[in-house]
Amino acid sequence: MSKAVSALGGVSHTGFVDVAEAGLRGMITVRGDLASAKMKKAVKAATGTAVPAARRIELNGDKGAAWMSPDELLILVPYDEAVATVEVLEKALAGEHHLVADVSDARSVFTVKGAKASEALMKLCPVDFETLAEGEIRRTRAAQVAAAFWESGADEFTLVSFRSVAGYVMGLLEVSARKGGEVFPA
């Protein structure tokens, strides 16, 4: 699907950490009873993971399920699999009150990589990184817009924002990651 392009075309910057737009990612909002048997099956079928506990993200390779609110999950899959995954979820949840919506194109995804990745984010988000649990997804704000992030690898955070503000978010990350701006210089 070459017609589909991410908001910023994968732009990246190198500062004291590397910040990059990560390109398109399949994302599906699922609302429903997170404790139901059908929901467990639906998530398993879509991502191979369990239903995440409150504020957790369950990752399985390039797929995952993130807890967004007491009745909402965000399902992560490769972009090209989003449409099919919507069908899988709809089928699995049929007969139960639920909502499934493809939001892959409504989001932008960023990575912040480097030993001091949290030092770039702590300039933007009112979040205590020292108490952030492993496997926690934190919904918060990045400066003036909504964002969610999680630790997606060693020294790496993945951050999701709305697509329309991708340029703004990249601006925030680029400025925050500029060399000389280390918050705790060695």
């Binding site: 409150a54 967004m68 007491p70 919904r139 918060t140 704000r141």
Partner: protein, 107 residues
């Protein structure tokens, strides 16, 4: 700059992550209600110096509305609780009464 713990997701949210929603536990009056009832619902608000129950939305977080009991004078937070209730939980009321013996109670 308050911190309120969202009872829906457990985040100790900064005030900048929240949206204030005014007084809690208002009873809606629709068609068929008297002018006095409607006036009370639409326009009359408590404005106490002291214990107050109010609505907050974890707008930059889980998106859920919740309710908070707070002292408007000292900003002491007595507790937060889910929005799906028409009156403050009894244990919270008891806790407030203990901390503020002169409080006239929830009305």
């Amino acid at each position: 700059m308050l911190i309120l713990e969202c009872p829906c997701c457990g985040v100790k949210a900064d005030e900048t992550e929240l949206q204030a929603g005014g007084e809690a536990h208002l009873k809606r009056y629709g068609p068929g209600s008297t002018d006095e009832e409607f006036d009370g619902y639409m326009f009359s608000r408590k404005n106490p110096k002291g214990v107050h129950f109010e609505r907050w939305r974890h707008a930059y977080g889980c998106g859920k509305w919740f309710l908070a009991a707070r002292c408007t004078a000292t900003l002491e937070v007595f507790g937060t609780y889910p929005a799906q209730t028409s009156a403050p939980p009894a244990d919270l009321q008891a806790k407030i009464k203990q901390k503020r013996p002169n409080w006239e109670g929830y009305k």
